[in-house]
């Protein structure tokens, strides 16, 4: 650590080195977010937005929500449905991601094999999501391989319709695309666990499950939370996967924004974006609580 402070004094000042990086985020992230919030309070007509201060976009978004109670209005239905997708995808990616990370971190003995297998899991992440989505069509379609196999085996008489362009295919695609985001942080957490702890547990007579439950899982919590934040925020804001895999039939929180944008209604789109952002942040705060409660940080 002393070496670090010594190095700190040399070269160009830190703020100057960070300036270009910071400017990109100022102009393409911080200011745009500010504009989203501002414009969400503007008025609009058929062809332009009108600077003013009105809650019209918010009021219209939640129109009828109070009157329709106890039934859910469209926007609440959409959020409940999106939250369901979030929960299912989160559970699936967590279980699969944890198992894969556990296998790589604790059952592969040599670092080289570990890195090769890790790379095998990573490479698909570096290819196009849309292509990975459409690659399910020949498998899940009406005349796809899965239906052909099921019919050949006389398990079904007519092709299953719910395999593609359905909630099932949307969920499958999410798991297919984003388990990576669980594997990496959990794997990272696991690699930091002192192997002597595992040996100590073994010597003290703990079974494999006991070691997993009482030692490894608690120590992996930071990785699990980081992975969860990624997966949950991706599903909350997604519109591409819902579009391509849902056959444009399934509503989602992200798609509400996109639909408004396609109609060039910027203030309502911005209001929906603010709501989406708020809900996403609430979920993240909630996830952080789960970890804090058990005094993990």
């Amino acid at each position: 650590m002393t070496a670090k402070t010594a190095i700190d004094q040399t070269g160009a000042p830190g703020w100057l080195q960070a300036l270009p990086f910071g400017l990109v985020f100022l102009f393409f992230f911080v200011l745009p977010l500010a504009f989203v919030v501002i414009v969400s309070f503007w008025d609009y007509n058929d062809y332009e937005m009108l600077p003013s201060f009105t809650t019209r976009s918010y009021v219209e978004t939640f129109e009828g929500c109070l009157a329709e109670l106890p039934n859910l209005c469209t926007i609440l239905k959409t959020y409940v449905s999106t939250a369901k997708f979030c929960l299912i995808v989160w559970l699936a990616t967590l279980l699969v991601g944890f198992t894969i990370a556990y296998f790589l971190a604790f059952h592969i003995k040599t670092v080289t094999t570990q890195m090769v297998l890790f790379l095998v899991c990573t490479i698909p992440f570096w290819t196009s999501n849309v292509i990975r989505m459409i690659s399910w069509i020949p498998l899940l379609g009406r005349n796809g391989l899965v239906n052909l196999a099921l019919e050949k085996a006389h398990i079904v008489n007519a092709p299953l319709e719910w395999l593609l362009y359905s909630p099932f295919s949307v969920t499958l695609a999410f798991v297919h695309l984003f388990t990576f985001f669980m594997v990496v942080p959990i794997f990272n957490s696991m690699m930091r666990i002192d192997r002597r702890l595992v040996e100590a547990a073994y010597d003290a007579g703990a079974s494999g499950w006991q070691t997993l439950w009482n030692l490894i899982i608690p120590l992996c919590k930071p990785g699990v939370v980081i992975g969860s934040i990624f997966v949950v925020t991706i599903v909350m804001g997604d519109f591409v996967t819902f579009d391509v895999m849902g056959g444009e039939q399934i509503a989602s929180a992200g798609k509400v924004v996109e639909t408004r944008l396609n109609a060039l209604q910027f203030p309502p789109a911005a209001a929906n974006a603010v709501i989406l952002l708020g809900v996403t942040l609430l979920i993240i705060v909630g996830l952080n609580r789960i970890v804090d409660v058990r005094k993990e940080l």
């Binding site: 000042p13 490479i123 990975r132 459409i134 690659s135 498998l139 391509v244 910027f266 952002l277």
Partner: protein, 294 residues
Amino acid sequence: MGEGRSPAFYWLAAFFAVFVLFLYGPMIVIFILSFQGPTGGLTFPLNGVSLHWFERLLRGGGLIDISDAFKRSLELGVVVMILTVLLSLSAGLAFRKRFVGSNLLFYVAVASLIVPSIVTSLGIALEFRLLDDFLKAHGPAWISDDLKTTMDTFTSGLGAHLTWTLPFGLLVMFAIFNRFDHRYEEAARDLGATPWQTLRHVVLPIILPSVIGVGLFGFTLSWDEIARSSQAMGEHNTLPMELQALTTTVTTPEIYALGTATTGVSFAVIAVALLAIAFVRARQARHGSDAGHA
């Protein structure tokens, strides 16, 4: 950890194998189907094997004319890659020192990963629309007269991609510098090297493999990006955006051929990056303690 393989190992290994099949299986299927014969459809069986759909893709006469989008995405990817490497490296160096606002900058970068892409994309679109309005109303005549929009691939589009690639770049830089042995720099300084010389001849050669990794991230994330691009590209769509639009209209294996071609570019870039990393590593090993010798 006992000796030998436990039964758990075989269960987990089987699970891993299934997972890998799950990851690669569908991609292999469309790879095969892109060589579908001229009369073949979107699903099996193969009606012969041909390069028919690749030919149509190349000629551009078919349903898809994507050569412009292909070129645009490639150029954008390269620019994003270069900027991601330069800006992340510079910021990574900055974060090793104390500077005002370093915490804030870190949180902003992480927030950029977490805020839904559609929100960021909408914000950038609004920003440029307001800028257009302002320029048209108040700008000097030589700008405002034939201004249509300031939104384009290399203005708003480039910025949108950087908000996605730079946080990854910075996180990789953190990982690099956390493992960096500071004694190399001290030794260089003790021998009278200037900060620039230390960076150029000591630090950079040591971290080069990881810097190539950052470049790989920069290119592939940009090459495949779609959600952030959706509102921020102006008139010209990138390749993934064209592809998404095509999923609803194209019903021939041409789209698989396009998928195979696009994936081919991704794999080529990954392969070049991995080879470059292996080459640099081997060179480092050969030169031993002379790691920085140019």
